[in-house]
């Protein structure tokens, strides 16, 4: 059995670790509620855009735009949203595994795939596997503003229009609840489901439906990606919260176990001391 002092020092260090994880748990919890608020304030914007696009799709069904065109697929881009740091449980591995699984299923050669990544984990992962990571954003803040990812979204759309790739998929963790996040795949480009968006009004287009699409579609696609990022961030905080909660619970269990063996060792030491004293007294008589 380990010595009393050894057990005591293990108890102390475990206690310290659990204090840290507990603090991190609470930090994540507060970040999560902020992230949920962000996602909520973004919703009206998205709904409005969908409303107008729906109206255009219904009012001018033959309007065309490069972002609506389905081309034969030679190259596919994947936008993967991960976190920058660890300590978020299975958050990253889930999304990376799902993305990699799909990529391997769909493509036989790595030349058919390009990766865009938000978050360091995704960049490192795909670089190590030898995929072509054409663009990445690292260091997105906990509560991202639209300006932070404007470059990557604009580039993603520009390269699609230029024909560098013919499809753009997006992988991220969808926030269901604080304890459940779902890996989600979404096809961003080409935009195909316009007519499915329901619209509540019919509009005059000034100057023309095409001119509006010119402005609206990039804005819409960028918002899709931003929405996914907000969703992903909420999941990240939720995931980190759950992971830190589990770590705190485990630490507590470990401390209980250690305390038990500490007490046992202490008892054994006392018993031994008494036996020695009694033995010593008996020897004197």
């Amino acid at each position: 059995m380990a010595s009393l002092r050894e057990i005591q020092s293990r108890i102390n260090s475990t206690k310290k670790t659990s204090q840290i994880t507990k603090a991190m748990h609470m930090v994540s919890a507060s970040k999560l509620s902020k992230a949920e608020l962000n996602a909520k304030s973004f919703n009206p914007y998205m709904e409005k855009i969908q409303d107008v696009i729906g109206a255009i799709a219904a009012g001018a069904p033959d309007a065309t735009h490069p972002m609506l065109e389905s081309r034969p697929v030679k190259k596919t881009a994947y936008l993967v949203i991960t976190s920058d740091r660890g300590l978020v449980g299975a958050y990253n591995s889930h999304v990376l595994k799902a993305a990699l699984g799909k990529i391997r299923e769909r493509h036989t050669s790595k030349d058919e795939v390009v990766i865009l990544s938000i978050g360091r984990n995704g960049v490192d992962f795909f670089n190590k596997l030898g995929y072509n990571v054409i663009q990445s954003v690292i260091g997105v803040s906990d509560h991202p503003t639209f300006a932070e990812i404007k470059d990557i979204t604009r580039e993603a759309i520009g390269k699609f229009i230029d024909g560098e790739y013919d499809e753009l998929y997006m992988y991220y963790n969808h926030f269901v609840s604080a304890i459940s996040q779902e890996v989600t795949e979404k096809k961003v480009l080409p935009l195909t489901d316009l007519s499915s968006m329901k619209s509540t009004a019919s509009y005059e287009f000034e100057p023309s439906a095409e001119a509006i699409l010119e402005v609206l579609l990039p804005q819409y696609a960028e918002s899709l990606m931003y929405g996914a990022l907000l969703d992903g961030k909420a999941s990240e905080h939720a995931s980190s919260m759950t992971a830190m909660k589990a770590a705190t619970d485990n630490a507590k269990e470990l401390i209980d176990d250690l305390t038990l063996s500490f007490n046992r060792a202490r008892q054994a030491a006392i018993t031994q001391e008494i036996t020695e004293i009694v033995g010593g007294v008996a020897a004197l008589e």
């Binding site: 962000n38 304030s41 973004f42 009206p44 914007y45 409005k48 855009i49 409303d51 107008v52 109206a55 255009i56 503003t145 639209f146 300006a147 404007k150 520009g158 009004a201 019919s202 509009y203 005059e204 287009f205 000034e206 100057p207 001119a211 509006i212 010119e214 402005v215 609206l216 804005q219 960028e222 918002s223 931003y226």
Partner: protein, 134 residues
């Protein structure tokens, strides 16, 4: 005087939500004034100022593109960024203007130049709106 509801929404949340007598915005085809009861309409916006007239006062909002959606009782502006005149950080706008000018001077590729130009016009727009010039 009758009023119309005005919403200005960006991805980062709502910027403005109130009533106005008239909304004046710069669309790609020219300046447009909207009064209550306008027919439903959608128009893309230029980088510019949106003016909201209410009683005798005028509020200014700097918008960077986006579009305008009009209904008889409501105007919604959806832009990637929008700032009320009094919220504009002039120091930051001047910074952004300098940066864009520096990038324009270097002239690397068409894409960069175009981007820098856009950044410059956004910065200048914000400065103009903040000073109440437009």
């Amino acid at each position: 005087m009758s009023t119309i509801k005005v919403n200005i929404v960006t991805p980062d949340g709502p910027v403005y939500d109130s009533d106005a007598n008239m909304v004046i915005a710069v669309t790609t085809t020219g300046e447009l004034g909207i009064l209550p009861g306008h027919i439903p309409m959608v128009a893309p916006l230029e980088i510019g100022a949106v003016r909201l007239n209410k009683d005798s006062s005028t509020e200014r909002v700097a918008v960077s593109g986006g579009f305008l959606e009009v209904r008889p009782d409501q105007v919604t502006i959806l832009a990637q960024s929008a700032e009320l005149a009094e919220d504009i950080d002039t120091a930051r706008a001047i910074e952004a203007k300098k940066r864009a000018e520096a990038r324009l001077q270097q002239k690397q590729g068409d894409l960069d130049a175009k981007r820098a130009e856009l950044a410059l016009s956004r910065a200048m727009n914000r400065l103009d709106v903040a000073k109440g010039k437009i």
